[in-house]
Subunit: 310 residues, 2 copies
């Protein structure tokens, strides 16, 4: 039975980076998140594609154990398409083309069996749609929500209503600043905590991520990838790994949440090593475990006892 | 007796940020680093100021136990002056004026008693001058070196000679990329390790810092400052705290190096809370210890044992 419901885009992406390019490759927030979650739990996708969506992508997702009962296929329409180019640093990117296609009229409808599932990821779509999903579910144990600058600019009121109904907001540092109007990330996190969620996850790209809650902050670095190829989907992969791990371990205590961040970071590091979902589809448990161990080794230190003080 | 020799600028800074401004305030890499180190060790500054350098700054440094035998005072010349403005995010800054003044003809001369001291910090000055310092010292236990984009562009050959003679290079992420020509920080660190230093410290500003060595990488977050006022000198403060702590604990093993990074990060967090050295001059041991404890709490997690794998 599905334990992590993931709502978001399933897309075809054309991506160009200094390290190569792909044309109409499998992409979308729900795609990355569900593949990442699939290593630990049973994810189900709620989204929409067009008649042009290649069958091989359906097969790939099914093979990973992703449930697609909630994936609508509109035969006479086209799949959401995004074309973008990244600069040498892989941080700055330019959107060259966005074709909403089937997404223009998309309204998420959860299969009946998804409505009482314990974990819900609201991927980055219009906050109106994210609210519609919340109206269909029966008190999940944990609701994680992503968003983006577009909705902060165009639908701030809705977004603020949404914030009151989610448990974890998962955004990058610039989105946190923009949404809160605060100049520093810690101040932004404080503002966002007051707006509803009990936890704020700040994604910092190659620098790692931080968790803010009433208990203070917690941080982990990104796993150091020598030759990142394409950062597309890294944040969604992180969120999928995070929720998938929590679903598998069954606990929501602080130590488990911290471990889930580490798992998310490890999964994201695999994502950026290849284009599209190439590096994500065939992971071995030993690969993921090795990166989690390495992140543990890279962060643990002995408490400091100051001997003298001048 | 001095145990940390710090070579670098002692300056007057006019700084404007969205949170306020100061005119001709005490600044300079050696100033920040020596004040930070003074809480743990006995730092000595090698630098130069002009006759216009206010006596109160000399007094402030002396009061913190900073040895000034190596601080040259050129009565008929002016102190190095920098004017800059920071944007709202406090990351982007514009240099509005730089007057080298006494620094134009500066050639560092170490007092005889400094030449056999165990710890040396080569603050960001022309790499020719940094080499001249190395010619005067007798095998320090640890040489840490900073640099900047200006020297990477103007004196790359000298910089590469310098890299072969230092133990730790301490630069920010964009400098590491520029110096190595590598697009990712991990690749840049690998390149830099092959160029000489046994350790590379990458400063990531508000995101923290990472250490790269043959033993792999290690990372700590920045202490989350709610209302940063002025980031000037944070990197120098970090380096001074790092070296000061190492001098006080007397060990250079990996656990001590990691703790020293934490101390550096804690000191840097105080630096950014005020303008100039305002927040750095009057720290209590309990303040610093509390931030180090908080950084410990914010990074320690239990090793992950994967229960199931789908």
């Amino acid at each position: 039975m599905v334990d992590v419901v993931i709502v978001g885009s399933v897309a075809l992406d054309s991506v160009e980076t200094p390290h190569g390019s792909v044309e109409r490759a499998l992409g979308g927030a729900a795609t990355y998140a569900s593949i990442a979650a699939s290593y630990f739990a049973r994810p189900g996708v709620v989204g929409v594609v067009g008649g042009d969506f290649p069958k091989k992508h359906i097969t790939a997702l099914c093979k990973r154990g992703v449930d697609l009962e909630g994936l609508e296929i509109v035969a006479d329409a086209k799949t959401f398409f995004w074309r973008g180019r990244y600069e040498a640093n892989l941080n700055d990117r330019t959107t060259l083309d966005t074709q909403l296609n089937v997404f223009q009229t998309f309204s998420p409808k959860l299969p009946a069996s998804y409505c009482d599932r314990p974990f819900l990821l609201l991927g980055n779509i219009h906050p109106d749609l994210q609210l519609k999903v919340l109206d269909q579910v029966d008190r999940p144990r944990l609701v994680v929500c992503d968003t983006m600058n577009l909705w902060i600019e165009k639908a701030l009121g809705t977004l603020r209503r949404l914030l009151r109904r989610i448990d974890v907001l998962c955004v990058n540092d610039s989105e946190a600043r923009q949404l809160s109007g605060c100049a520093s990330v810690p101040a932004a996190a404080e503002w966002l905590l007051a707006a509803g969620p009990t936890r704020i996850i700040i994604k910092r790209g190659e620098h790692g991520c931080s968790l803010f809650s009433q208990r203070g902050f917690f941080s982990i670095p990104a796993y150091p990838v020598q030759r990142p190829a394409d950062p597309t989907g890294a944040g969604d992969t992180f969120a999928g790994g995070f929720l998938g791990y929590l679903a598998s371990c069954g606990r929501l205590d602080e130590p488990s949440i911290h471990q889930a961040l580490v798992v998310g970071a490890a999964m994201a590091s695999f994502c950026v090593e290849g284009f599209s979902v190439g590096s994500l589809l065939k992971l071995k448990q030993s690969d993921v475990a090795a990166r989690c161990r390495e992140l543990h080794r890279a962060t643990q230190f002995e408490a400091i006892h100051f001997a003298k003080w001048l």
